[in-house]
């Protein structure tokens, strides 16, 4: 499947295009915020507290007079950083565990399989709390917890994907015509499981953003000197009784970004499935088809898969 046609298929669907557009915007805002924001995100001005949205303050100001728009923009950098690092860690952990679970001796493989099934049940937030108790809260804790947490899910998905593809006829055919293991892996297995990993990567990133929001809110994520959407929610929470609707800005930012990543995952999965591309939709009910929502709840538990 050629890369060009894949990208075109991805962008042709409205969800795919919208998701890519929003994510590009966030990435752009994150990059630009390193050098410029409309105002200093951390500059406090008690006399300008709680100003409504205006020309000079696009989203208004908060309790200590900070420009919310600038803060949200600066915080996008934190989000991108956390998402990318968590995603990368999750992939590394996931593939590593999967490799251990597929390419080694039988005893090791079985133990890893059981271990993965056990670890999948552990909620990421508890891992984060444990790490925070040991090392104190930080963005690093968020990244490690998210990466490990989702990494195990990726390990599980990878193992089942590798097993599925290994059984396919074209692999046997390739082997029969003399291809070595490495060649089979590179030329046949990898291209077929690659879309699944892209989907999982975007889900891992989405999960990590939600984790960062929650953990920063609890005080164990971003520190006070780092702009974070979750921290902003925590700051605004104290004034919910008098200024209830300022929370819209950081919340919307988080929701739209997570949604975009989820939609991107869906779009990648649909674009990669050759059955779906020619005419309309076909109900795709394969193992990857259920992988949608952030919590990766749909990947069926070990007993039933």
């Amino acid at each position: 499947m050629r890369r060009g046609s894949f990208v075109r298929a991805l962008l042709r669907r409205p969800q795919g295009a919208a998701a890519v557009a929003w994510l590009a915007l966030v990435a752009l805002a994150a990059a630009v915020s390193r050098v410029w924001t409309p105002a200093d995100p951390f500059r406090t001005d008690p006399y300008s507290a709680w100003l409504p949205p205006s020309g000079s303050h696009l989203f208004g100001t908060d309790a200590v007079g900070r420009d919310i728009a600038s803060y949200v923009m600066a915080a996008s950098g934190t989000t991108v950083l956390v998402a990318v690092c968590s995603g990368a860690l999750a992939l590394v952990v996931g593939l590593g565990l999967a490799a251990l679970g597929s390419l080694t001796a039988r005893a090791v493989r079985e133990s890893v399989a059981v271990l993965i099934d056990v670890l999948v049940a552990f909620p990421t937030i508890l891992v984060a709390m444990a790490l925070a108790a040991a090392f104190g809260g930080s963005l690093g804790v968020v990244v490690v917890a998210s990466g490990l947490g989702y990494g195990v899910t990726i390990a599980r998905v990878s193992r089942s994907e590798i097993r599925r593809v290994a059984r396919e006829d074209y692999v046997t055919a390739a082997r029969a015509s003399g291809a070595g293991t490495a060649q089979v892996l590179l030329r046949h297995v990898l291209p077929n499981i690659a879309p699944v990993f892209v989907v999982q990567l975007s889900l891992a990133m989405a999960t990590s953003i939600l984790a960062e929001a929650g953990l920063s809110f609890l005080g164990y994520g971003a520190s006070a000197e780092t702009a974070s959407w979750g921290r902003l929610l925590a700051d605004l929470q104290k004034f919910l009784g008098v200024h209830p609707w300022t929370i819209v800005w950081p919340g919307l930012a988080i929701t739209l970004t997570v949604l975009a990543l989820n939609l991107l995952g869906d779009a990648v999965r649909d674009a990669a499935d050759p059955r779906l591309r020619p005419s309309g939709r076909v109900s795709a009910t394969g193992p990857a088809a259920a992988a949608g929502p952030v919590a990766a709840v749909d990947s069926a538990p070990g007993v039933t898969s």
Binding site: V114, L115, D117, V118, L119, A121, F122, P123, T124, I125, L126, M129, A130, L131, A132, A133, A134, F135, G137, A206, L210, A213, G214, F217, L218, G219, Y220, G230, L233, L236, Q237, L240, G241, P244, W245, I247, P250, G251, I254, T255, L256, V258, L259, N262, L263, S283, T285, A289, A290, G292, P293, V294, A295, V297, D298, A300, P301, V303, T304
Partner: protein
């Protein structure tokens, strides 16, 4: 069935062991001297020494772990490093808030997600079905914290129907007030879990619709909608049960954050506080308790699923 039960229980026990090892190991990973780190800059050398003895830090790590694990088996989780009160008792007390919260959240989630998911699948091609599907996707992307705040802003601040936060002083002695305090928190978690359940139920129902038996059932003398209800639903319900175990994970995650937002005196909130205070003994116990609950519910759900699905049951013929 017995063989499955034994195997599954063994898996559960293994999960508990792995959890206990991981929790213990992580908390002992504190950089530097554990006792010093906990006592902070205010502790005198005598206090630090006392702390070290209390934590048993002079003994080999394996022995320390076995001490703690042994205590777990007796349901003795030690005493708080800060207040000295027994941990197990405090956890049991806080569970009186967290368990009802989780239960109510699950109920909300099921009530919102499952019927809507079936309906969205039945109305798949019509605009109403698409709207529900999109709505669920958006809701699944919403952070629980924000949703909670929005619900507070709407129902508590603007409309004044429910309390913004807190828990009645007498707890369950005043069941009416206690329940009212749980509604918004449970709704926060429930709506998000419901959105996830909706998407899953929808795809399970679409799958059932694809199968011939719904159409075959309609061919026997009823409408497609009714056939879906009497034949598709039991099959869909079975699929939903199979993922309920993972849903519980979401409930725990939600509870920690939501209890903090709504200042509910539950296990999650206590965990957050104790992590800040570096009360290692308590944190160990709390993490273990929460993990054990998650693993146990997973076990229950798997057994239930096995019992309900005739294809998995071993029938004597």
């Amino acid at each position: 069935m017995t063989r499955f039960l034994l195997g599954r229980t063994a898996l559960f026990a293994l999960g508990l062991v792995v959890a206990s090892v991981l929790i213990f190991a992580t908390l002992r990973l504190l950089p530097g001297d554990v006792a010093q780190a906990i006592a902070g800059t205010t502790g005198s050398p005598a206090q630090v020494a006392a702390l070290r003895e209390q934590l048993g830090l002079d003994r080999p790590v394996a022995a320390q772990y076995l001490d703690w694990a042994g205590g777990l088996l007796r349901l003795d989780l030690g005493e708080s490093l800060v207040t000295g009160t027994p941990v197990a008792g405090e956890i049991a007390e806080k569970l009186g808030v967290t368990l009802p919260l989780a239960g109510l959240s699950l109920v909300f989630g099921l009530l919102i997600g499952v019927p809507a998911g079936v309906w969205a699948a039945a109305r798949q091609r019509r605009p109403s079905g698409l709207v529900v599907g999109v709505g669920a996707q958006v809701l699944a992307a919403v952070p629980a914290v924000w949703l909670g705040m929005l619900l507070i802003a709407l129902f508590a601040v603007t409309l004044g129907w429910l309390p913004t936060q807190g828990w009645p002083l007498d707890g369950w002695q005043e069941p009416g007030r206690a329940l009212r305090s749980l509604v918004l928190p449970a709704l926060t978690i429930g709506v998000i879990e419901g959105a996830v359940l909706l998407r899953f139920t929808r795809s399970a129902t679409l799958s059932a619709l694809d199968q011939d038996y719904v159409r075959a059932a309609a061919a026997k003398g009823t409408t497609l909608d009714r056939a879906l209800l009497s034949h598709g639903l039991p099959n869909v319900a079975l699929s939903v049960v199979s993922v309920l175990g993972l849903q519980v994970v979401g409930l725990v995650v939600g509870a920690v954050v939501v209890e903090q937002l709504f200042t509910l005196p539950g296990l999650g909130r206590m965990l957050v506080t104790d992590v800040g205070r570096r009360d290692l003994t308590k944190v160990q116990g709390e993490l273990m308790a929460l993990t054990a609950i998650v693993l146990f519910v997973g076990l229950l759900v798997d057994v239930l699923h096995r019992r309900l699905d005739p294809r998995l049951r071993e029938v004597e013929r």
